[in-house]
């Protein structure tokens, strides 16, 4: 039988044993490594790139050294930054319309099986047909270049939102569905209080993919739209620089596109974390 005194835990009893100490060390190393390792690899890559240029005597109009790309980025900053803003504008607008269209269609699909059966194939066809092959047609039929760019980016971006949100709306806990039915919930109440919250994690997953795709969609559309008119975004800048054999500027523009993609992905990840941190498994910190 245990007694009261045995149940007491004193400060001396709380020792850090070997295993726990090792575990704490491993956690700390992992935390540092998560930031440090990618930085080291990037630094090494840039250094290797520079060395390859120097050792092989590669002319800067074929492969510029990283330093030259950085210089160009600073020198052409005004031009490049304005181009970036134009591309980003198309991307963000397209993403916004993709969210509205994707969620709207998903809600429509889950309200009626027959609507889903009828129109889902079209969504799939739009998704699997490469945007480069549709874009020229769009620019023939749509007068406004801005609208054309937007439509192209939208077509690429909306599908993951549609398909993920549809899945989410349909995956509400079936016991909760029964409960809503027993309590006489209306269609609207079921959507608002059960299906939309259930779909949120799925939607956010789709949104993260769609963010990257919206950028790709805008860039591809700019390529197809070509020189005329308003759109002088980053893709157009790359094309133009290519014609002039201004390779460093191509690299600088490319760097900005990649950077924009990373920033979009990170912002959406942070948004997702903020919305889910209170309750969803994906956002919870676990004890070991």
């Amino acid at each position: 039988m245990s007694t009261d005194t045995e149940a007491q835990v004193t400060a001396e009893d709380l020792v850090m044993d070997e295993e726990e100490a090792a575990r704490a060390r491993a956690r700390r190393n992992e935390r540092i490594g998560r930031w440090l390792l990618p930085l080291i690899v990037v630094a090494l890559t840039i250094y290797a790139w520079d060395r390859i240029c120097v050792v092989n005597n590669i002319p800067h109009y074929l492969l510029p050294r990283p330093g030259l790309v950085a210089q160009t980025l600073i020198k052409d900053w005004v031009l490049l930054f304005n181009a970036l803003l134009i591309t980003l504008q198309t991307t963000v607008l397209a993403l916004g319309v993709a969210v509205l269209g994707g969620v709207g269609l998903a809600v429509l699909f889950t309200q009626s099986k027959f609507i889903e059966m009828s129109f889902y194939p079209y969504a799939v066809i739009l998704q699997v047909t490469p945007i480069v092959s549709i874009a020229p047609l769009i620019f023939i039929y749509v007068d406004s270049k801005t609208a054309g760019l937007l439509i192209c980016a939208w077509i690429v971006a909306f599908f993951p939102i549609l398909s993920n949100t549809t899945l989410g709306l349909n995956s509400a806990d079936h016991n909760l569905r029964d409960l809503f039915k027993i309590y006489g919930a209306t269609r609207w109440q079921r959507l608002r209080f059960l299906q939309l919250p259930s779909a949120l994690p799925y939607f956010l997953g789709g949104l993260r993919i769609a963010g990257g795709l919206a950028l790709i969609g805008s860039v591809v559309a700019e390529y197809v739209a070509g020189t005329g008119g308003v759109g002088s975004g980053l893709a157009f800048t790359i094309l133009e620089a290519g014609y002039r054999l201004n390779i460093p500027r191509m690299f600088a523009a490319l760097l900005l596109i990649a950077g924009a993609g990373v920033v979009i992905f990170m912002s959406l990840s942070i948004l997702s974390h903020l919305l889910l941190r209170k309750w969803h498994e994906s956002a919870l910190k676990r004890e070991v």
Binding site: F180, K181, Y183, F193, P197
Partner: protein
């Protein structure tokens, strides 16, 4: 008879007794035209009853519960509510706690009231009361993931009683819990029943649970699902943990076990 009545009181209510809440009359359910899940079940549930439906899996006890809840409709026979509202006036507890993970404890309990158009402030006191009846008045703002399995089930029970329903349906609510927690929740459920006077239909496959909790045990058999015996447990309430050690309890348990064996025996 093929009518099913879940709406207003029917004229025959007077004959079945004024304190009858719900009666099942010769209720049969056939799934898909080839599987008889429930055959000719008749049962009167009186106000204040704690009725256990006890039987092996496939005996139609959950089907009976779904029919009462209005989640599915009887193939033949009728289900009649007496004296007032029908299936809308129910509380339900499933085997899983079935809480909304994105909502706090208080918001979960608010749900049935919210679906009736009640604002949170209007029913704040009901929510608090329901939660204090299950001993969770200090967890209003907790999220379900922060609670243990037993506590989640308590929230589920609080949600079921928040509307002061005329009948509470419980579908093996404690089956997934460990034995210590289950005993504690059984005790607490009886206390809650004493305080609220709730009428409860409780599905279980545990003989001990059914004897401890109920005043009536309906023993059911499978293939086809049907009632084979009804036992009355006359031991007085309140029953505390001590009831589990009385000879009376042992006797009821052996009666129920025997009935259950008879139910299993035919197809064992």
């Amino acid at each position: 008879m093929t009518t099913q009545e879940t709406g207003a009181a029917d004229p025959s209510a007077a004959q079945t007794g004024s304190d009858t809440v719900l009666s099942l009359q010769n209720v049969t359910k056939v799934f898909n035209g080839n599987l008889m899940a429930l055959k000719g079940m008749s049962l009167d549930i009186r106000r204040g009853d704690f009725v256990s439906l006890l039987g092996p899996s496939g005996c139609g006890k959950s089907t009976a519960l779904r029919l009462i809840a209005g989640l599915s409709h009887a193939t033949s026979g009728r289900i009649a509510w007496h004296g007032g509202q029908g299936a809308g006036d129910l509380g339900v507890v499933f085997q899983e706690p079935t809480l909304m993970p994105w909502a706090t404890v208080a918001q979960n309990v608010w749900l049935p009231l919210r679906l009736r158009g009640k604002s949170y402030n209007a029913v704040k006191d009901d929510i608090r009361e329901a939660l204090s009846l299950v001993g969770l008045e200090n967890f209003l703002n907790a999220y379900p993931r922060e609670l243990s399995g037993g506590m989640k089930m308590r929230v589920s029970i609080a949600r079921a009683i928040a509307t002061h329903p005329r009948l509470i349906l419980m579908d093996e609510p404690f089956a997934a819990l460990d034995e210590i927690t289950r005993h504690k929740l059984n005790d607490d459920l009886l206390q809650l029943r004493a305080k609220t006077g709730a009428t409860i239909v409780f599905v279980t496959h545990s003989v001990f649970e059914s004897v401890f909790l109920s005043n009536r045990i309906v023993v059911m058999a499978a293939r086809p699902g049907r009632v084979i015996r009804e036992l009355t447990v006359d031991a007085a309430y309140p029953r505390t943990d001590d009831f589990r050690t009385t000879p009376e309890y042992a006797r009821y348990c052996s009666q129920a076990t025997e009935a259950l064996h008879a139910a299993m025996g035919e197809h064992a």
